[in-house]
């Protein structure tokens, strides 16, 4: 690979260029790379293009203009200058080495070679196939913008730029992947974001050595935060430009990867995953209420099942007044096995719902919910209470705004159920302690994951527990180490 890096200058003769292109890019073999020869004043002019990624109507205009030189121009001695002048497009670049030519050609730009000229002209006529911005499925709101990022990095930077017209917003682009040459953009507001963080991210991105990152953001994330066996999401993703812009204002650094509509927000803590744009679209009171309900849901999704299992195993633990908890009759299967089975059943359902086409999924839901639930009880497989508690915790994990966090919590819940089944009270308390300690020990890009709970920060925690009104939030969160602390200049 090092040998390829040697720069090949653009040859003088178009014949040589053609030879080179044939060998390196496979013009003639690969059907999506094409070339067109036109003659201007008896000189050959070659035009290379990639069929799928450029805008034909623009190319036709350019060729028209070039061919018309034959009829209108008299001065044949300065042909290259004349041609450059007639390339009617705002983005024209002159390059002198073939590596750049090939890179640009394969990104969808067209390249013009003139016989006898050792420079190539590159014209940006890219037009990538893609969809228009639409509301992301995973982050819907009742009120608010229905914008969403797309797979096109240029459009994505435009969507944030529309919300931040600050001259200090920086979008730095770099290429990752020896073969895929994927564009990655780091966005931050220069006088807010932490320099150290930007440096770390840039260094990590530059150190990525891989041939391609087809899975885009996820692959980048894995290089960025060394996660290993930790199931918890170390970065937050968003497909909403308004959330992305909010985080930029707070001093976060965004990483956009071409071909993915999910932006990576860094640094992230646990509590970034429990917030939702919806809260900021309603009055602070309602927002706080929604948030509290969600917290209850998330807590239930982790701790409800092991707690209940414990009370089933040792009913003496129940304080007076709560003795009704626990199944009335002994089932045929140990309760913790029932819990795990039912949990796996919910997981089946969830997976099936993702893969099944919408037309069939209603039928599937019916079968699953009505038949399996009731019949499993009638047959004696599950006790009714198991279904109740498993459902509550399943709904709790669906109420978690971050899909990644809900999955990690699901794993924690299963482990807690297992350890409780084995060791009873001691299992649950030790499990709970390990859950908290493990999370507070985790760091994502030098940021403690459980901040602002552990390490404790009163102001920040209040902002998480209560959705404050925007005028009341004067400071930026200290966790991003903003260079400039005041939101309201």
């Amino acid at each position: 690979m090092g040998q390829l890096k040697e720069k090949v200058p653009v040859p003088n003769k178009v014949k040589e260029v053609q030879e080179y292109m044939k060998k390196r890019v496979g013009v003639g073999t690969s059907f999506d790379v094409g070339f067109r020869e036109i003659t201007i004043f008896k000189k050959k002019v070659h035009l290379y293009y990639l069929t799928g990624l450029c805008d034909t109507s623009v190319i036709v205009q350019i060729i028209k203009k070039l061919v018309s030189i034959n009829d209108q121009e008299r001065n044949t001695s300065k042909l290259p200058e004349v041609i450059e002048n007639r390339l009617v497009h705002q983005q024209v670049d002159k390059v002198k080495n073939m590596d750049e030519v090939v890179d640009q050609l394969l990104s969808g730009l067209i390249v013009v070679f003139i016989d006898g000229d050792s420079e190539a002209y590159i014209i940006d006529v890219r037009k990538y196939p893609g969809r228009a911005p639409e509301e992301p499925d995973t982050e819907k709101v009742v009120r608010g913008s229905r914008d969403g990022f797309t797979e096109n990095i240029i459009e994505n930077t435009a969507l944030t730029r529309r919300r931040i017209r600050d001259e200090r917003l920086r979008n730095e682009i770099l290429k990752v992947g020896e073969r895929s040459k994927t564009d990655i953009c780091i966005s931050y507001i220069q006088d807010i974001a932490d320099d150290g963080l930007i440096k770390v991210i840039k260094k990590e991105l530059e150190n990525i050595e891989i041939d391609g990152i087809a899975m885009a953001d996820k692959t980048v994330e894995e290089f960025l935060v060394k996660q290993r066996f930790n199931p918890f999401p170390m970065v937050r993703y968003t497909e909403r430009p308004d959330i992305a812009a909010t985080h930029l204002f707070e001093g976060h650094v965004l990483i956009m990867v071409d071909t993915s509509p999910s932006m990576i927000i860094t640094p992230t803590t646990y509590f970034h995953h429990v917030q939702h744009a919806q809260e900021y679209r309603q009055s602070p009171m309602i927002g706080s209420f929604v948030r509290w309900i969600r917290f209850i849901g998330i807590l239930a999704s982790v701790f409800l099942l092991p707690m209940w299992l414990l009370f089933v195993m040792e009913p003496t633990l129940l304080p007076s007044g709560l003795e009704f908890i626990g199944p009335n009759e002994q089932g045929n299967i140990p309760i913790f096995v029932q819990i795990l089975l039912a949990d796996i059943g919910v997981e089946f359902l969830r997976m099936a719902a993702i893969h099944t086409p919408t037309a069939l999924s209603t039928a599937m839901g019916l079968i699953a919910a009505v038949l399996i639930g009731q019949i499993a009880i009638d047959v004696g497989l599950f006790s009714p209470e198991v279904i109740l508690y498993v459902s509550i915790s399943a709904i709790g994990s669906f109420a978690t705004p971050s899909y990644e966090l809900s999955m990690a919590n699901k794993i924690s819940r299963m482990l807690l159920v297992l350890i409780t089944a084995m060791f009873g009270v001691e299992g649950l308390t030790v499990g709970f302690t390990l859950y908290i300690l493990g999370l507070s020990h985790t760091k994502s890009l030098n940021t403690p994951f459980l901040w602002p709970f552990i390490p404790f920060n009163l102001n920040a925690l209040v902002q998480i527990l209560f959705r404050l009104s925007v005028p009341a939030m004067k400071d930026r969160p200290s966790i991003v180490h903003p260079r400039n602390n005041y939101r309201q200049p």
Partner: protein, 172 residues
């Protein structure tokens, strides 16, 4: 401009205090939160001791002290006592990095309370006579409390150092 300068000055005046004040706040909240959790574990019979068994029922065996009022008073009292512990940690151990020292701190604190100070609380059985559930639950609570106090204080301390550094460089 002047207003900005004023604000900056105020900030600088507050800065040296800030980490210490934050330690105190951490102490109060930590004491309230984890002793509340202690009361919850007692309510669900995970452990036979609760904040009230220590602080109130050791001397006052009335009816109200066994109810929620006793717990509430004990929790508030622990919130206040916790300030002392936080100040102690700030004074002695704030330079310890990471989470492990604070976990050890929690365990040591547990031994202090349940072994050394046990004679002060006539209502608490000696360490060896407690059920294993009680021991495990209280040790866990103390570890979490220690982590909360210790890790927060040392993180805040290093954070305040870090934040002061680049600023002073930029100004000179």
């Amino acid at each position: 401009m002047e207003k900005e300068k004023l604000e900056q000055n105020q900030n600088q005046n507050e800065k040296p205090m800030s980490a210490f004040v934050k330690a105190i706040v951490t102490g109060v909240i930590g004491g309230l939160l984890w002793s509340f959790l202690g009361a919850v574990t007692h309510y669900f019979n995970f452990s036979s001791v609760s904040p009230a068994t220590f602080l109130i029922r050791s001397w006052l065996q009335t009816k109200w002290s066994d109810g929620w009022l006793g717990e509430l008073l004990a929790i508030i009292a622990l919130g206040l006592i916790s300030i002392l512990i936080a100040i102690l940690y700030y004074a002695l151990l704030r330079k310890m990095k990471g989470i492990w020292p604070s976990i050890v701190f929690g365990v040591v604190l547990w031994f202090l309370v349940f072994y050394l100070l046990q004679p002060i609380f006539p209502n608490i059985k000696s360490m060896t006579k407690l059920t294993s559930d009680t021991v495990v639950t209280t040790v866990c609570l103390f570890i979490l409390y220690g982590t909360f106090i210790g890790y927060s204080i040392s993180y805040e301390y290093y954070d305040s150092i870090k934040q002061n550094e680049p600023k002073s460089k930029a100004e000179t």
